[in-house]
Structures are given as C-alpha cells and as structure tokens.
Symmetry: C2
Subunit: 341 residues, 2 copies
DNA sequence: CTGAAAGCGCTTACAG
DNA sequence: CTGAAAGCGCTTACAG
C-alpha cells in the first residue's frame, strides 16, 4: 500500500504542502475555510504524517523515553501504564529503555538511544533518577528530563513526587492510634531515596508520641520479598516480639506476613503488619494488607504532562516544575489493637 | 551540542558518505583497510546515525512495536523484559502500545502508530493476537507480525508458543500420582486461547486415568484473583470438597488459597492447590505455590528473533515460523497426598 | 494569511 | 570496491 504524503493531500485540497502542514500542526494563520477543507481531505485520504520526515526536518521526534532500572517490577508497570495512556492521548509514543549500570557500556547504549532517537523527553524513575551522571548525559544532548520521586539534586529537573515522609508518618500514627507502642520497622533498599524518607516519617510519628525506636526493632531490608521474610525471622525470634511491624513496602510486608504464618503467629491477633505502595498483591494476600496507596499511575501521567509543558513556552513559564500527588491510607485487615500481654 | 553527521565522518576519514554508510551497516564490498579506518573515525567522533534520516530514506525504522491488551499485567511485564533485552542487543528499540478494543477509535490509534512510525515489526500477545482484524491491519501496512501464544489462524503468522495442553496434562498427572481422584478445575478467561488448551490437557490426564471430571467441580473463572476466590467458595461449600484444585493460572490459584484459609481448610493437608504460570507472587504466597513455569522472558526474546529473521532473506528461508519453548513443573508446597476420608 | 525554496541526514539506484 | 546524484516527506526560514 503506497503511503499518502503531504503533497498528495495538498494537491487534492488545492493548497500548498506548507498549508497542510500548518493545519496538521494546529498552527495559527490559516483561514477557517481552508482549515476545514484540508481537515476534510486529510480524513478522506486517511493521511498520517510520516514521523521520520517530521523528525528529520524539525527537531521533534514525538518519542518519549521511559527509563527503568528494572522494567519488570510492579512499580515500573504501574508508572508505565499511566505514562502510556497520557502519551498516546497527546500523540506521543513511549519507548521503554532499561538502564543497567552493571554493564560497562551503559553510557554507550544510552547515547545510542538519546542521540539516535532524538527523544523529545525522558522520564527517569527511582533509583536511577538520582544518578547525576545519567542526568548530565541527557543535558548534554538537550533532552528535557522529568524525574519521578527523586531524592537528590532536587532543583536540577522538574519532578513528580509524593510525600513519602508524611505518608509514613500517617501510617505510623494509625498504628499508634490502635494502641501499638512496640512497633518494628523494616527499611527498604538504600539505593532508593524513598527508603530514607519513609524511615524519617516513621521516626517523626514515634518521636511525637514520645517513643524512641529500639534499634533491635529496626531491620535493614531491600524492598524484596525475601528480605521481609528474613527481617521477620529476626523480629519474631525475639521474646516478646513486637506487636506491630511496619515494612516500608508491600513486597516486604508480604514476607513478614508469610513468616508470621510459618511461625504460627496470628495476624492481626498477635501481630499487626502494614506495608507501603498498594501494589496488586496487597489485595491477594490473606489477610489483605493495610498499606499506603502510592499514585503510580497518576505519577506516570503527570510526568508526561510536565515534559510536554516544558516544550510549550507559554506553559513552561507557569513554572510548574514540581507536582506533588496525594497518598492515601488504605485500611484493610492486617491490623488491630495489640493483645494485652 | 551540534550533532555529528555521516558527512563529517566521511570527510575526516577521507571517503564518501556512502562508504561510511556501508561500514555502519556492515555491508560487504569495502576494503578491510578502509573499513578499519572508518570504524576508527566513527569511534573517535562518537558518531551515531540519525534514526530519522535512516528511517526516511530506507524503509526501516529500527522500531518494534509490542502490543498489549493490558500492559500492566505481570504476564505482560515478563514478556516485555525478554523482548526489551533482545531488541536492545540487536540495536532495535521497543515501542509499547496498548490496544483497547473497547474504544471505538482503536483502529485509528493503531494506524497512527503503524503508519506514522513505520514499525519494522509487531509483536502481538494474548488475547489480542487472535483478533483477525488486528492482524489484517498490520498486513495492510506490510508490517511483519509475530504472535505469542496465539490460538486462531495459526498458519497466518510466525509464532512463539508453549505446549499449554501438555503442561496442564503434566500438572494433572502430578496430582493423580499423589493419589488425588477428586480434582476440581478452575477455567480461565475464555478470551484467551490458552484457557481451552489447559482445560483439554486436564481432561487428557483425567481420561487416561479412567476418570471423568464432575461438572460441579469445574468452575468458570477469568484469570483474575477474585474469580479464584469465588470459584473456591463454591468448591469449598460442597460436602465433601475436592481433595485438589487445579486453577489454570497462579492469580486464581492464590484466590483459591486465600479462600481455603478463610474457610479454615488447611493447605495442603485438607486440600492441594496448584496454579499455572509461575509468576513472582507464586513464591510470595504461603504455602508457596506448586505451578507450571511458563517461559515468558524467553518467549519475548524469541519473538524478537523471529521478527528479525523475517527481514533477513537468508534466515527467513530457514522456514523458522514456529518456536515452541519448554515448560517446567515447579513443585513447591501446596500439594500432598489426599488425607483418608 | 499563503507559498516557493532549501534543507534535515541518511539510503537507493546507478555508474564506473 | 567506491562514489556522485537524486530522493525520502516533512519543516524552517523567508518572502510577499
């Protein structure tokens, strides 16, 4: 099937290619009458501009890169879905790119993409969004960057974030309000900046309640299921064990939950367990996990908006460089007041 | 940073742009000496071809589209990861595209992508891979298609598959070998062709053992957690309940598992439960789920290989149009012999 | 408000 | 084995 070009459309509409171009791109200065005629012909002929010709002559590619450390994680999937939906609604395509700093040639691979594809923008997720050398590579190639939940160099790029610290405080307050005092905390992967923010939020609430976290009740994890399992083995090996465990993401919380079942510790009767993220599996556990909903889908979509605003001088002027999205406490079935000793 | 072009490289190397083009694309008919010189200059100048200029003048885009019904599912994520890794290794980029038949303008959106981006190839996953109108759209635009686990029109495109039927038979035989005779089956989403294949495999094994599945032990599900939960409520409401439940994917198996816990039915002591897929959460359940490993990562990678082979006349001739990948029975902790009545 | 000319950076088709 | 010319289908920069 021979493709239809802008010249074909122009001829049929009785105007110049440039005029068709103006109409397609929604530029001003076209008589309403002509605009309509062209629009009609475009529809009739089922014309679509060739993205490569466009990309070559302008400096726009209509391509946005979404960069992940681990594109297979549930976290990545939900951000991707939000970005995807919004990008398509705005006529952009999403190119997914993994970045593995483990590989010595990561920079070469990245430059292949950035330079070869002339990306219109890049979205960086945690934890790679905190690598300054990565950000610099994009800057060198004049690719606008938006970061999701960064922890470092916050003034360097526009960003989409959530108040992890306040959310962790809210969750801890929920546990405190139930009457818990002996609350354990499982830290996340130190590479992710959210790990520290959640830890600080936990401390905020404990301190406000006049409590000091016991160091034996704070265990290092890495956001993976297995680390939750192992942390719980330590926590439940103590006598008495804590009355509540706050794991700083859902996957680890599930590990704690499984460890409790293995050790015949009833949840929530003997121990309350909470997570953070509200990934799909939080609802597939039994009991269903009390957690914090993180608006990943919305963050992905907002990142696209911010990127496209940047390219629009009128809107970029609005100085809309940081979008903070709300979290939500999701109370399900893994908590109750502590049983009396 | 002003981009370096093929002309810059040609000048510095003292050859014509066409020669540089030959070297970059690995074409024959270049003196080894010149090839080396050009290669050196390319590296020195850190030159990368502009994908848009390439795409415009040739008919290749180096872009492969990965089409999903639901890009956020765990199934999609693992296929995506395999395809991504392989595509990058071969110098291709992956564009992720959702297809929603719910939307009346799905065809227009699809044509925007196919025509605008001049995809080098498309990978279609279940269940959309069985929509003939979708396949036709790609054919009209001369975009090679590879399908993953299709169920219809099997001779129409190259494909990557797994023997779902044999796998379901193997799983059922495992249950039979443990001594189970009263085995319930939870069917998947009828839109997915794998649903029927798994059901047939179950029947194969039952029939071979001289057993006829009782219709009250066969429940319709849809591959979602909730449907497993609901199916189990029916199964466990019966007296006696089956001694084993084969849910045709892991998510539903988890629903069955949670229902068992809710109803105080011990797993595996009172009931054995098995799934299918070996998604990540199969290991996060308690007890850990016995299941069939489906090689999603490998299927994604194989789809890319098949697509690229198609474009290479020498290799396309090999008639490599169907790649079947092996499954594996993963025995974990949700099964044991039935307890005596 | 509209258009003619030039150019983006490659590859194709051809010639030698 | 190597290269000069033309062209891919748009947009930019300019003119009117």
């Amino acid at each position: 099937m021979k493709a239809i070009t802008i010249t074909d459309v122009a001829r049929r509409a009785g105007v110049s290619p440039k005029t068709v171009s103006r109409v397609i791109n929604g530029e001003a200065h076209v008589r309403a009458e002509i605009r309509e005629a062209v629009t009609r012909v475009v529809a009739e002929m089922n014309y679509r501009p060739n993205a490569f010709a466009r990309g070559l002559s302008s400096s726009r590619s209509f391509l946005i890169g979404l960069f992940f450390d681990d594109p297979a994680s549930g976290y990545a999937a939900s951000i991707q879905r939000g970005a995807l939906e919004r990008a398509r609604a705005l006529g952009r395509h999403l190119v997914i790119e993994p970045v593995s700093f483990d590989r010595s040639d990561w920079r070469r691979l990245l430059e292949d993409t950035v330079q070869g594809l002339r990306l219109d923008g890049a979205i960086l997720t945690s934890p790679i969004c905190d690598r300054i050398d990565l950000i610099e590579t994009f800057e060198q190639h004049d690719v606008p960057v938006v970061r999701i939940a960064p922890g470092a160099a916050l003034d360097r790029t526009p960003q989409v974030r959530m108040d992890d610290r306040a959310a962790a405080r809210t969750m801890t307050e929920h546990l405190l309000s139930l009457g818990h005092r002996d609350i354990a905390f499982v830290l996340g992967n130190p590479q992710h900046s959210a790990t520290e923010r959640r830890w600080l939020g936990f401390q905020d609430a404990m301190t406000a309640a006049g409590l000091t976290p016991d160091s034996r009740r704070v265990i290092q994890g890495d956001f993976k299921f297995r680390s939750g399992l192992e942390a719980a083995d330590v926590l439940f090996g103590a006598d008495p064990h804590p009355t509540a465990v706050f794991a700083s993401n859902d996957e680890m919380a599930l590990g704690v939950l499984v460890a409790a079942m293995r050790n015949q510790i009833a949840v929530p009767r003997s121990v309350s367990i909470v997570g953070f993220d509200d990934v799909e599996i939080a609802r597939m556990a039994w009991p269903q996990l009390t957690t914090i909903r993180q608006p990943n889908f919305e963050m992905g979509a907002a990142a696209i908006d911010l990127l496209i605003d940047r390219r629009n001088p009128a809107r970029a002027a609005a100085d809309d460089t940081c979008r903070e999205l709300p979290y939500e406490l999701i109370v399900r079935s893994t908590c109750m007041p502590p049983s009396l000793p």
